[in-house]
Symmetry: C2
Subunit: 250 residues, 2 copies
Amino acid sequence: MEMKSVIRSLRVLEAVAQHQPVTVGELTKIFGLPKSTVQRTLVTLAEAGWLRANRKDTTRWEIGARVLAVRPAALQGSSLYAAAREPMVHLRDTLNETIHLSVPDALQCVVVVDRVDCDQAVRTFINIGDTSPLHATATGRAILAHLPRADVEELVARGLERFNDSTPADAAALLAELDRVRADGYAVNLNQYRPDVCAVAAAILDSDGTPLAAVAVSMPASRYQPDRLPKWGRLVADTATEISARRLGA
Amino acid sequence: MEMKSVIRSLRVLEAVAQHQPVTVGELTKIFGLPKSTVQRTLVTLAEAGWLRANRKDTTRWEIGARVLAVRPAALQGSSLYAAAREPMVHLRDTLNETIHLSVPDALQCVVVVDRVDCDQAVRTFINIGDTSPLHATATGRAILAHLPRADVEELVARGLERFNDSTPADAAALLAELDRVRADGYAVNLNQYRPDVCAVAAAILDSDGTPLAAVAVSMPASRYQPDRLPKWGRLVADTATEISARRLGA
DNA sequence: CACAACGTTCCATAATGTGGCACGGGCTAG
DNA sequence: CTAGCCCGTGCCACATTATGGAACGTTGTG
């Protein structure tokens, strides 16, 4: 409602990130704004260090380095990030599936902040920065299971979007699943968000028990084997515990 | 010169990143702006998803997750980032010193984008997002050595800031050093930028030979041993080569 | 209990961003 | 070779938009 120029500038920044390196003309088509407005916005963002002209084609714009100094608190000082790296690589080596690290964003969603790829020919593909709903994914529920009951109810009150038949439909189903997550120490998602994607996740906790993030192993549904779940769940949970411990020890 | 509100909003965003979680009052002290202006800016940034209220203390603001979807092209798809991780950990394990990954920012500076810590009691401390000049650091010169002569001259023309007596003073000194870097395959920095910090770095190249980034091992000057330089240089250069290869293979 | 400090809201003011237009350079088709 | 086109860039009168002082409500403290 306020500061339209700021909001618009940030949208432009996001568009540049998506299409970089991009020209003024391309952006005017995306936004339907006058050329001069887009141009001015780009110059301003560049002046602030958030954008820069491409070195090879100076009429194309790309994201500048300033962006890297601005990171969510969970990643600040790289404590979570650095602590997670080696355990994630180890888990990938053990399971040979893609491993993700995600952080919650204010009860809205979880965001993928890091990824370790496997070398399978068929594998899940999720980008750093991608978001997904808390209630419909293994990562989200691993985190939800460690949040106060009130927060879960707030989330339920906002409505649980369904992505297909297996997405938890109501508060009861979700709460029962969260109980199971707490009992087992890991969360599971079988095609409940993206079709054909299964995942097993566990929460990374702060010293006071607050869930800071979650690690997950995700795979195509075709490679999911129910009988291996207890073992995989334990491995993921152990990885999360190891990361929590390293973060606090550092 | 233009769009003051946008520039100011970005400064506020950066300040929040530095001090998060932070209150309106603290920010007004930092900027000397009226409370209402800061407040409005914060709400606007939050509306755009770049900021959010802290969950535990809703009067404190912190960086939102949206930021993570906006990354420089060099890191896009995380190919560099993911490719670099394991070789960096391996190098750290071999040398037990802090390892950095940095990317150049448009002939202006290099930015640290990743870090693997060692467990030494005394160690170098550089944050992700920190920037340093191209001509005065090992990382910068490792990259400069692989840029066209014209680019180096452009940089020289802009002037070479000196940080202490050992910083390269003129074009001749810098060009001679770059020749040495190309011959040896690694760059060295002995207290030329930050006092008491030594580093050995090597460039990570794209398929066409463009330098995309550089890996560096950095250590307190007290642990630098000249006789080990050839061996360390070779290890760092091998790590850079390995990262280049992994990135292209992926 | 009263004061102080803080986050939040409101609104008249003018400063600020807007976008139509025009310029110049590079590219392509005739 | 040149005419026509498209693109990035710079300008400027207009009015939309952000500004910041002042007032309000709440919290915690002496």
